[in-house]
């Protein structure tokens, strides 16, 4: 019987397989950041262990880093201490580090792909659940806890039980204004936050094949929000073209050998998935969340659901609590929800294409009065590219704040946070209670919906902007 993409990559990394034991898997690339690594390095020290493969390990700083005044000492002493701990650990153990201020610094899941380190058929881990992002290249990539970070540092392997596989097939054409973000939010709403639990997802079908690498990364990034540790997309010409010429992409004969291998990384015709979900791309629309988990979402044209409409008692209770926290009323049109803050950035939507998409809608328009818009590039390289294209000017002229690279408002670990009761439209990945700051209320959206919302001051799609005149090209 044939094998799925996930099974092929898994099998190629089995160091040891024994009856009654989890497989021991080799890890090709280990990404580190300041938050989940300090206790792992401590563990190495306590046991007199070294980092086994420095050449497969790389670190950057992203969660704690401020996006303003990056040339000044970090104001929060605890954040500063955590970054200094990473620097000290990397120096002591010899790990390559791209600290704040370095041209290769950025959100760890933006940095790996742009350096060409994330490649098809590799295993990638990081102490961060959004490591699933790298699956866009046909890599088997998943988030791990700090004990596993220590395990990989010491052994370059992980003992793991093989998950089941689930195909998510998306055929047809995505309608205009419907993005990868809308697609993944719709998938999560359909299968639920636990729907992918125990599975590796493979996104496939004609709608997926047409997507750019940036869009594929957005989709794989949020696999974890459906409960799946990993999501994958089979590598193809789009993948190869993205990688060719990048700093760590193979060259010469190695490139040819790599591409020959990468081309084998497709699910066989006769392979069998443990579960399958089918989505018709043509039926999708711009999608937003109304609740406090990423599965609580609906098309922008819909209304806030009535908790009483849920048959399942725990879902009903969850919806009641979500509406209470979010300050929403059942039946209220989603388009009527006004926001204080718009955030464009994060490992989900902080890449160059995301910034281009938001800028295109903001060009010649203004951010609505009373709305604060933050645009935070995913990495220094993304920022430099955006400046080269003049996108920073577009954002600034529209009244948005153009910031330095980092995780920023995706999570409340750095100065960029919502105040209690504030409401955001955010291109990030989690609308959990307090995620963007204590008492903050988050609606997850695409960069396009974020831009339209910034201009109109309420949740809006790009089509809603047709009545708003632009000064561009007049």
């Amino acid at each position: 019987m044939g094998r799925t993409l996930a099974e092929k990559v898994w099998d190629d990394h089995v160091v040891r397989r024994a009856e009654g034991e989890p497989d021991l898997l080799f890890i090709d690339l280990h990404l580190l950041h300041e938050v989940t690594s300090p206790q792992a390095f401590d563990g190495l020290r306590q046991n007199g262990r070294q980092v086994r493969r420095l050449d497969l390990t790389i670190a950057t700083e992203d969660h704690n880093t401020p996006t303003l005044d990056i040339d000044k000492p970090i104001a929060d002493p605890v954040s500063r201490a955590q970054l200094e701990t990473l620097r000290k650990n990397c120096a002591e153990f010899g790990v390559r580090l791209h600290p704040l201020g370095d041209v290769e610094q950025g959100v760890v899941h933006v940095v790996g792909p742009q350096l060409g380190l994330t490649q098809p058929g590799t295993t990638v881990v990081c102490g961060d659940s959004h490591t699933s992002t790298h699956g866009a290249f046909g890599a088997l990539a998943f988030g791990i806890g700090t004990s596993q970070v220590e395990h990989v540092l010491a052994t370059q392997t992980l003992p793991l039980a093989r998950p089941k596989t689930m195909a998510i097939t998306v055929d047809g054409e995505l309608p205009e204004d419907v993005t990868a973000k809308d697609l993944i939010l719709a998938i999560i709403a359909k299968i639920g936050t636990g729907g992918g639990q125990g599975y590796i997802l493979e996104y496939r079908g004609s709608a997926i094949e047409k997507l750019s690498m940036e869009a594929r990364m957005t989709i794989c990034n949020m696999s974890i929000e459906a409960g799946a540790r990993a999501g994958m997309i089979a590598p193809d010409e789009t993948t190869f073209a993205y990688l060719k010429g990048r700093a760590h992409a193979p060259e010469g004969e190695d490139w040819d050998a790599a591409v020959a291998y990468w081309k084998t990384l497709r699910t066989d015709e006769d392979a069998v998935f443990d579960a399958e979900v089918v989505i018709d791309a043509a039926e999708l629309a711009p999608f937003v969340t109304w609740g406090t988990n990423p599965g609580q979402g609906a098309p922008l044209s819909a209304r806030v659901p009535d908790p009483a409409s849920y048959e399942d008692a725990s879902e009903r209770l969850a919806a009641e609590k979500a509406l209470e926290y979010m300050g929403l009323t059942a039946g209220q049109p989603l388009r009527d929800i006004t926001v204080d803050t718009v955030f464009v950035g994060s490992c989900t939507n902080g890449r160059i294409e995301d910034l281009r998409n938001a800028a295109e809608l903001l060009k010649g328009r203004k951010v609505a009065d009373g709305v604060r818009m933050l645009v935070v590039p995913g990495s220094v390289r993304v920022a430099l590219q955006a400046v080269e294209e003049g996108l920073d000017k577009v954002f600034k002229e529209a009244g948005a704040e153009w910031r330095h690279a980092g995780c920023s408002m995706c999570l409340g670990m750095n100065p960029d946070q919502l105040a209690p009761g504030e409401r955001s439209a955010s291109t990030s990945n989690r609308n959990f209670e307090g995620r963007q700051g204590k008492g903050g209320r988050t609606h997850l959206v695409s960069p396009q919906v974020a831009a339209a919302t910034a201009v109109l001051g309420h949740l809006a799609s790009p089509a809603d902007l047709s009545d708003v005149a632009t000064t561009a090209g007049v």
């Binding site: 009654g20 034991e21 380190l117 659940s129 596993q148 636990g194 639990q197 209770l317 307090g434 204590k438």
Partner: protein
């Protein structure tokens, strides 16, 4: 890791689904660089409410958390496990756990027990009606026992063996040094490297 064989204690019924790790331990606590001192951050936002179940005097000293489905979703932060353990929890019972949280728990000796929602409901009813009711989580017999409740649970044999003996995963893996070295020697040259020799 501390071994887990069997534990008996009072329970905290937490009637919430999708308890994500941001709720278990908010991000600002993650700036600490140790594995201890997280107990005050556990469910920090909810604990501001004096009526929150963890704040009730009758729950003081309880060691078994009984939660709704999809416990531990979201961020991979192992700090969530440390916070539960620092607070005093020895076991968490739910009908479904997020994968990363469950893996992190087993690495630290916090037992996560999957039981059908009906049994979770029964445990909620029992421990809400009688806060002094004790719940036993027996890993040797793979059973959860309480007044009127005798439920079997599954845990794969390998994970159970590691927990019962408090074994260190890294030491176990390093016994396979020859296998790792052999795999490394056979890796193709086109695989990426972060440092070029």
């Amino acid at each position: 890791m501390e071994a887990f064989t069997t534990h008996t204690g009072r329970a905290v019924p937490l009637r919430r689904s999708n308890v994500d790790t941001d709720q278990i331990i908010p991000a600002h606590w993650l700036k600490k660089v140790t594995r201890d001192g997280f107990e005050d951050g556990l469910f920090e936002a909810w604990r501001k409410d004096p009526e929150f179940v963890l704040n009730r005097p009758e729950r003081e000293g309880a060691t078994v958390l009984v939660a709704g489905p999809d416990f531990g979703t979201g961020s991979s932060r192992e700090h969530a496990v440390w916070a539960l353990q620092n607070y005093g929890f020895k076991a968490v019972i739910s009908s479904r756990f997020a994968d990363i949280f469950r893996g992190n728990s087993l690495k630290n000796g916090l037992l996560t027990v999957v039981l059908p929602q009906e049994t979770v409901d029964a445990l909620w009813e029992l421990t809400e009606a009688d806060p002094t009711a004790e719940v036993t989580v027996d890993l040797e017999r793979r059973k959860v026992l309480a007044a009127g409740i005798d439920a079997d649970f599954e845990l794969d044999e390998n994970a159970r063996w590691r927990l019962l003996n408090g074994l260190d995963d890294i030491s176990l893996t390093l016994q396979n040094e020859a296998d790792i070295a052999a795999y490394e020697a056979a890796r193709p040259s086109f695989k990426p490297r972060t440092i070029t020799a």
